[in-house]
């Protein structure tokens, strides 16, 4: 029964969509790699048959669009055929990125919730702070990430923390915005009820506002964890591409190693899926505990 549902609700749909994507991908790979292949062949003075040509478009060393099997092969090589802690392993790089992501996400979520609580309760904050938080988010992170890294390393902070801070910077915002909305979402009637108990702000927050904001919280966290991952990867660039998914992307892009780029992207995405799924499961669990009606 459980297994059947899993197959029906997960495996089948995801499999189908993946199949469609892979097919479209192959078509795109052919279409995008063909012009360059034609140029190369022309320069080399060869005229391959169409099936030879097809094969060639799928096996360029630095294709415009790598074919799926090339990426899978690369992934395979860089995860399963090397030791997971070696610098060549994507698992190693994914782990580096994941640790920065998680610490940044934890700090960002905490910060976002704190800011939202402050905004909901302190009018001075509501009025003076929110516009500037919004402005802060329009600062292109890639532009200031190097400055942050330089400034922090100037005061001796290096390693995980600077990256985590960039993650924090990107992830606190969705949480703060969502939570402001969520903390203000309780029914007027319920707020009145708490008033009749002359509940103080902490009690109203804890017993009413926070439970009422749970749907907003998990939705925001899903966006935030994705943002955290982006932050961690961006934070890896100005450290000289030493380790992490970001460094793999960067190194790939210096040498037009599109296959490497795609493999790193997919590794990053797998990390992303795991993270978002985790948040989603946590959300479902909490929801069930809070007596939500099962559909």
């Amino acid at each position: 029964m459980q297994v059947g549902r899993f197959v029906h609700d997960r495996l089948l749909p995801i499999g189908t969509i993946l199949l469609v994507i892979v097919l479209a991908w192959y078509v795109a790979a052919y279409a995008m790699n063909a012009p360059f292949q034609r140029d190369t062949d022309r320069r080399a003075g060869v005229t391959p048959t169409s099936s030879e040509f097809l094969v060639k478009t799928m096996s360029q060393p630095k294709p415009t669009m790598p074919a799926p099997h090339q990426v899978v092969e690369n992934l395979w090589k860089n995860t399963l055929t090397v030791k997971p802690w070696s610098k060549r392993s994507l698992v190693y790089h994914a782990w580096i990125t994941l640790s920065a992501t998680l610490s940044g996400f934890a700090m960002g979520t905490a910060l976002g919730v704190l800011i939202a609580i402050g905004i909901v309760h302190i009018p001075a904050l509501d009025r003076s702070f929110l516009p500037w938080i919004i402005a802060s988010q329009t600062i292109p992170i890639l532009a200031i990430a190097p400055m942050i890294i330089v400034l922090l390393s100037a005061i001796g902070i290096t390693g995980l923390l600077p990256k985590a801070l960039i993650s924090t910077y990107l992830s606190f915002f969705p949480v703060a915005v969502g939570m402001v909305k969520g903390l203000r979402s309780p029914d007027v009637l319920h707020l009145d009820l708490m008033r009749t108990y002359s509940a103080n702000k902490v009690q109203t927050l804890w017993k009413l506002r926070i439970p009422a904001s749970v749907p907003f919280f998990f939705t925001s966290m899903k966006v935030a964890i994705a943002a955290s991952l982006i932050g961690a990867i961006v934070g890896e660039l100005p450290t000289g591409a030493v380790a992490g998914i970001g460094s793999k992307l960067l190194a790939g892009s210096y040498y037009s190693q599109t296959i490497d780029i795609f493999a790193a992207l997919i590794a990053g995405s797998i990390v992303a899926i795991l993270l978002v799924t985790l948040v989603d499961l946590a959300g479902r669990f909490v929801n069930a505990r809070m007596g939500a009606r099962q559909p």
Binding site: D9, L12, P13, I14, T16, I17, L18, M32, T64, M65, I122, P123, A124, D126, R127, S128, L130, P131, I134, A135, T138, I139, P140, I141, L142, A143, P146, M147, A154, F173, P174, V177, K181, R184, S185, P186, D187, V188, L191, F216, T219, V223, I225, A226, L229, I230, V234, L237, I245, G246, L249, L250, T258, I261, G268, S269, A272, I273, L275, V276
Partner: protein
């Protein structure tokens, strides 16, 4: 009731001022007299503001003391780059604390009768911003932070004033072309896919995990690819924005569509309403707060995405292009001018959305207190 109404900001300001007195003069060009005058003004402001006076009087005292001291401290920096001492920063902290007190007094205590005028609504965030700038200016110039690490706001302001045509051209390229297009298409796509996924569970089950994946694709990785696919002009930046804005909209819309009440849904069932009628008349309405949430988050993401995408291949115009090249030329003032432009555009965009949200979701409890 006593005549004194103590508050922690004024008290802390007083302590800081006392400490500053031990370190006169404050900078290389600031004589002991001027330094003493600053301290005196701050101390007077802190003490007088604690008297039980009417609010207009209290705010006037606070404004004069904090901004007067700030002005003198700023003036004391001319020709004194990097020479400020601990006393200088203590006075600066005191002035800022009084400024904070001013903001607190102006915002009121948020009680029911105290809605505040629209003037206050503008003044409070403005004061906050002005203080950020003052602190920035004084710290950077007082402590002698190298220009290539962080230029003072005055230099940035001058640069903005002197580069309006360039800023306008960059704005056109990045915001009017890439951001707007990408934002509209990305948000719309996220919305439509959410509607479809909501209609066809199969699609939701298959697409959501993959949507999660695409969303978290770090833009740094897709930006070069998009340049390869869509050329180096704004289209590739718009594509990055589309990808970035898609997912927040998808997730939020789906959450919003699930947010309508059971009884309301039952009601629509009794009308034999079809899926689309329930959607339009009930579930989309109930989803609006969530959808606006996404629109707001996307408004900032879109701007960041377009700017960052311009770090890769681009024509030689655009906010991201300018930022990345001017960093290389050590023109940090220009970099910050562009950042300021981005912040202003982003804030206006966001503010507009907030107004629209209020109009559309007026019924939401969050607007009814």
């Amino acid at each position: 009731m006593s005549a004194i109404r103590p508050n922690w900001q004024a008290l802390a300001a007083l302590v800081a001022t006392l400490y500053a007195l031990t370190a006169l003069p404050f900078t290389a060009t600031m004589g002991p007299a001027l330094s003493l005058a600053v301290a005196a003004l701050l101390a007077a402001g802190a003490i007088l503001s604690m008297l039980r006076a009417a609010r207009p009087i209290e705010t006037t005292i606070l404004a004069i003391a904090s901004f007067g001291a700030a002005a003198m401290l700023l003036a004391g920096l001319t020709g004194a780059f990097g020479t400020a001492n601990a006393g200088y920063f203590a006075s600066l902290a005191a002035a800022w604390l009084l400024g904070w007190r001013l903001v607190t007094v102006l915002s009121g205590d948020g009680s029911h009768g105290d809605k505040g005028s629209s003037l206050v609504a503008i003044a409070v965030p403005a004061l906050f911003g002005i203080w950020v700038l003052i602190l920035w200016e004084c710290i950077v110039r007082g402590a002698g932070v190298p220009f290539v690490l962080l230029p003072p706001p005055s230099a940035i302001g001058l640069r903005i004033a002197g580069s309006l045509p360039i800023l306008a051209a960059d704005f056109r390229q990045t915001v009017l072309k890439a951001v707007l297009f990408g934002y509209v298409v990305g948000s719309l796509a996220g919305f439509l896919v959410a509607i479809l996924a909501d209609r066809f569970r199969f699609l939701a089950n298959g697409l959501l995990p993959i949507g999660n994946m695409v969303s978290a694709l770090p833009m740094i990785g897709i930006a070069p690819i998009m340049v390869i696919w869509f050329g180096f002009d704004w289209q590739s930046k718009a594509a990055v924005v589309v990808v970035m804005t898609f997912f927040p909209m998808l997730v939020n819309t789906l959450a919003g569509l699930a947010a309508s009440g059971d009884m309301e849904r039952d009601l629509m069932r009794t009308y034999g309403a079809g899926h689309w009628q329930v959607l339009v008349k009930l579930r989309l309405q109930a989803a609006m707060p969530f959808i606006f949430n996404a629109l707001k988050i996307n408004s900032t993401l879109a701007l960041i995405g377009a700017i960052v995408a311009e770090f890769f291949g681009t024509p030689i115009v655009g906010m991201g292009f300018r930022i990345s090249t001017e960093v290389g030329r050590m023109n940090l003032d220009m970099v910050w001018a562009e950042i300021a432009l981005a912040a202003i555009v982003g804030s206006l965009f966001y503010g507009g959305l907030a107004l629209l949200e209020r109009a559309v979701t007026f019924w939401h409890p969050s607007y009814r207190r």
